[in-house]
Amino acid sequence: MSLGTYALRRTLLAVPVLVGVSAITFSFVHLVPGDAIDVLAGFQGVDPEARDALREEYGLDDPIWRQYLAWVTDVLALEFGESPITGRDVGATIAERLPRTLALGVAAWLLSLAIGIPAGIVAALNHGRPADELTRLGALAGIATPNFWLGLVLLFIFGVHLGWVRVTPPDAGLASLEMLWFMVLPTITLGTASAALITRLLRASMARELQKAYVRTARAKGLRERTVVLKHVLRNSLTAVVTVAGLQLAILVDGAVVVEQVFAWPGMGQLVVDAVDQRDVPLIQASVLVIAVAVVLANLLVDLVYAALDPRVRYR
């Protein structure tokens, strides 16, 4: 199978998942207890005229599949409607919040790679020795630390106690130095669990690869141990890290929901939580959909990258 055919097949496989994701998101309106109109109106008492207008707008008298199709058509055109609470355009709100979460997520992801990969290598090279055990326990601690708690503790030490950083985001551009400085703590908080995951994964994967016959061949050639590990073993182990990139994205999104709350960071996570608080269903729907679609697309991308990296995948 060529890479092109594989890509096409893999992409087609994502379609039913996307349909399912949109169907579930769409059904929120009808799953939330109460009349759909109340739900769409944000549970604010509206007069009968406005109710009729809403009923008309959302086609609530149509069969459910027609409502779904109409909704999907709007969504595909990036028309998410207005928030009944704030009255603002949902699409515009998301467009404003998304870059902030992306910035935080990318920074945390890079940090987790920068910590996780070397830590995993060190652990695998010292298999069974104290350095390995220490890395293992460190990674476990990273996974066990509640990120909201870590964020609060960091905020208290560096923000309140030492006063090195502000406790709320500065009123500055995303790329400004002030903003980057503020982002240090959220990035660490968000990246910790991810780094721990990568460390554990790479440690296990490298330990497995080190047992393989090709490692012996590489050593028998007279290569330096460093070359054996960094060129031969790491290359095969990193594919394991690539495969969890999709999972990592999910972890980062979950983390962002919490971390943004801790650092008052105006991103998607905060948006979702606020929307749930205010029972702003159209906003919940749109944000959850955007997040889920991003995860599906990221997983698709990961599989394609994986196939390009490891030609054997396509032949399976």
């Binding site: 996974i143 708690w149 503790v153 296990a204 393989k212 979702v272």
Partner: protein
């Protein structure tokens, strides 16, 4: 055997007189110790009672020798005992109060207001200090384990009850049933765990059982995938083909081959998931989407941690967080120890998971 033609002569050799009988052997062949490898192999494939008993003994022996895992188990046990005996447990039905557990390790009622000054730091009377309503933090942290531990245990147990049968059906029946179940799993997996849980809470509303429900709906997916994969790999294994050729029934194959092989990864996964679920429940509590705001749940206690921190009341955040950290770390230590004890083959470099390819396996053993 001395007189012989010169060896320069070439041709075929025939060895005569070397008989394969063992008549003259001094010991019976069966007296030989069978190789360990063969024993292991048999214990895996046969799954008979005697063998599996020694297998579990081996597992216990390996687990016992893992010091960090034992430490984890000890912490889990201690926290459980503290949670159960922190405060009397009473049920009220039909006007009767039935006391299930009369002991009280906690010095104060965790829900009682103004047992001390508000927002006081740690002192002898209140080792963990008091919160904004003057409640004793130490008592609240002790009793708070009840929520976290019971949510963790319940949500994982229920998720197992949903995921294992569905995964088994998908793997065993195959066809469109498999397609349908696994498509649902794929779709739900597209939502990040916590985001989906938040959405479910948004639909169902807050409260203990709603939080459990949200965690079960998100939690069963990984078990279904795990069991299905295990069944598919066992179905393809040679010894199952052999058993089928010998006329073994499906039920017998499942009981003797699938179950013993699938138990180990499910146990490990479930143990690690307890940690994940407890963290998620606490995160919901922290976001104010979990239990009611005055519950002594570790995450909920942190809900206004931010504002109290900014006022300098660090103790309100630190102690519930430490309890949460200790519990989740301990559970993970146990899970890791179980993993090593149940799959020693990994150490020999001949693990089944390695053969199967690490891809799906590592993804499924998602520790968040």
């Amino acid at each position: 055997m001395t007189d012989r033609e010169p060896t320069a002569r070439r041709g075929r050799l025939r060895v005569e007189g070397f008989e394969s009988s063992t008549e003259r052997s001094l010991e019976d062949d069966t007296a030989w110790p069978r190789s360990v490898e063969r024993d292991r192999e048999q214990s895996r494939t046969e799954g008979s009672v005697g063998r599996s008993r020694s297998r579990w003994r081996d597992i216990w022996r390996r687990f016992r020798s893992d010091r960090t895992a034992l430490l984890g188990a000890a912490i889990v046990a201690i926290l459980t005992v503290l949670a159960v005996f922190a405060w009397p447990l009473e049920v009220t039905t039909l006007g009767y109060r039935i006391t299930l557990q009369p002991f009280a390790l906690a010095p104060y009622d965790p829900g009682e207001l103004y047992v001390g000054p508000t927002n006081a730091g740690p002192s002898l009377a209140h080792p963990f200090g008091t919160d904004w309503a003057g409640r004793d933090q130490f008592s609240r942290v002790l009793a708070g384990g009840r929520y976290s531990l019971s949510i963790g245990a319940l949500a994982v147990a229920l998720a197992l009850c949903v995921g294992v049968p569905l995964g088994a059906i998908a793997g065993y029946v195959g066809g469109w049933v498999d397609e349908a179940i696994m498509r649902v799993v794929d779709i739900l997996f597209a939502f990040p765990f916590l985001v989906l849980a938040i959405a479910i809470v948004a639909v169902l509303g807050q409260g203990y059982w709603n939080v459990v429900a949200a965690l079960v709906i998100t939690g069963w997916l990984s078990y279904a995938r795990l069991i299905r994969g295990e069944i598919l790999s066992v179905r393809e294994a040679e010894y199952v083909t052999a058993a089928k050729a010998l006329g073994a029934s499906d039920r017998r194959i499942v009981a003797r081959h699938v179950v013993p092989n699938a138990v180990a990864p499910v146990i490990v996964q479930a143990t690690l998931n307890v940690g994940t679920v407890v963290l998620a429940a606490a995160a919901l509590g922290f976001l104010g989407l979990g239990l009611s705001p005055d519950s002594a749940e570790w995450g909920t206690m942190l809900a206004d941690g931010r504002s109290s921190l900014l006022q300098g009341h660090w103790h309100i955040t630190v102690f519930p967080g430490l309890a949460l950290f200790a519990f989740v770390l301990a559970i993970n230590l146990v899970g890791d120890g179980l993993n090593d004890a149940l799959e020693p083959r990994l150490e020999d470099g001949e693990s089944r998971t390695a053969h199967r390819g690490s891809r799906t396996h590592d993804v499924e053993r998602r520790d968040r």
